[in-house]
Symmetry: C2
Subunit: 201 residues, 2 copies
């Protein structure tokens, strides 16, 4: 593409580094910003820089957080004895949006996938096991995608907990099989948490 | 959406002000940036702020420009006697990408649309007429979308030039009717410029 402006070109290239944003879309976004007051572009940029500078992982659950503990872990009204184990923070958001869950979370950071070279040590499984040991956790709800990798991950974790006094559940599969959790509608996802099933290997 | 982080929330809201970017897409972009080094987010923001601060309109053709004149107007090898009249700078980019055109441009900033309240005075038509007067322009190529509003605009401009020694052409309509110029493939668009037709009212 011929931008006839180095400034436009570098802004387009910046947007085009983002996932799912091609050059044409990037150009549309940049041209929109050229039509806004300078302050609008500055506020946009500031929101991003400030977010990146201040965001961190919750020390307990690995959710993204503004503080040492995320606002779910910091909320005394949440049931600390129930941990919902998810792949990503998007799943935390999706489940929170249902308003059906009162426990806490643990974000694995992915699932075990030998093909993609992701082993248990690449995920936050060890911290999860330590947390279960320390915090008197009574129930683990595995809210993991119903894929081979997801099932492998659930199996691996439940195996590690064998002999321990803890209930491992999986969410009821009202969520369509093979579907990604974050795209499930709130009602289905909420119900599938309420109607969770004990996990049997 | 429940973000469990004020920083994430404000960055998502910032992205969601951009055209065509909904909250889900915005979240995907923000989560991507959380996974990048802080410098990447800073460079991204800097490219946008710097672009917005430094970009201006070419004083001659109203193309976006880094300087007083855009790099097309500043290029001595371009034929100044031929002006391609377009609606937006995206059309300039699309035509430049064909590599078929050696003249210069004039960006109208839209088309005459009584329904949307856009009159000739809202476009850069007066500066175009002054430019034609001053710069010994021999040909005006109207590369305007083949819509009612586009045709009205071409008619209005050609009417203003009546009695003047200037050829008014329209680009050959190999470009699909009703299609927007910027989405035409390079070959079609390039050929339609080469095979431009004299304009008859
Ligand atoms: Zn937390
Ligand atoms: Zn120019």
């Amino acid at each position: 593409m011929n931008f006839s402006s180095k400034h436009i070109e570098s802004a387009v290239n910046a947007f085009a580094t983002l996932p799912g944003i091609g050059k044409k879309t990037a150009l549309r976004l940049v041209l929109h910003l050229t039509q806004q007051p300078e302050e609008v572009a500055e506020q946009f940029a500031e929101a991003i820089v400030s977010m990146r500078k201040n965001i961190r992982q919750c020390e307990r659950c690995y959710n993204l957080s503004d503080d040492r503990l995320c606002n779910i872990c910091a909320d005394k009204r949440r049931e600390e004895g129930t941990i919902c184990v998810v792949e990503s923070i998007r799943d935390v958001m999706a489940i929170e949006d249902t308003g059906q869950y009162r426990g806490v979370y643990h974000v694995l950071g992915g699932v075990i996938s030998p093909i993609e070279g992701v082993g248990p040590e690449d995920l936050t499984i060890d911290p999860l096991l330590e947390r279960i040991e320390k915090d008197e956790v009574k129930e683990l709800i595995m809210a993991i995608s119903p894929t081979i990798e997801g099932d492998t991950t659930t199996f691996y974790i439940s195996k590690k907990l064998e002999g321990k006094d803890i209930q491992v559940s999986t969410i009821a599969r009202g969520v369509s099989f093979g579907g990604e959790l974050e795209y499930a509608d709130e009602l289905t996802l909420g119900r599938s948490i309420v109607a969770r099933q004990p996990y049997h290997k």
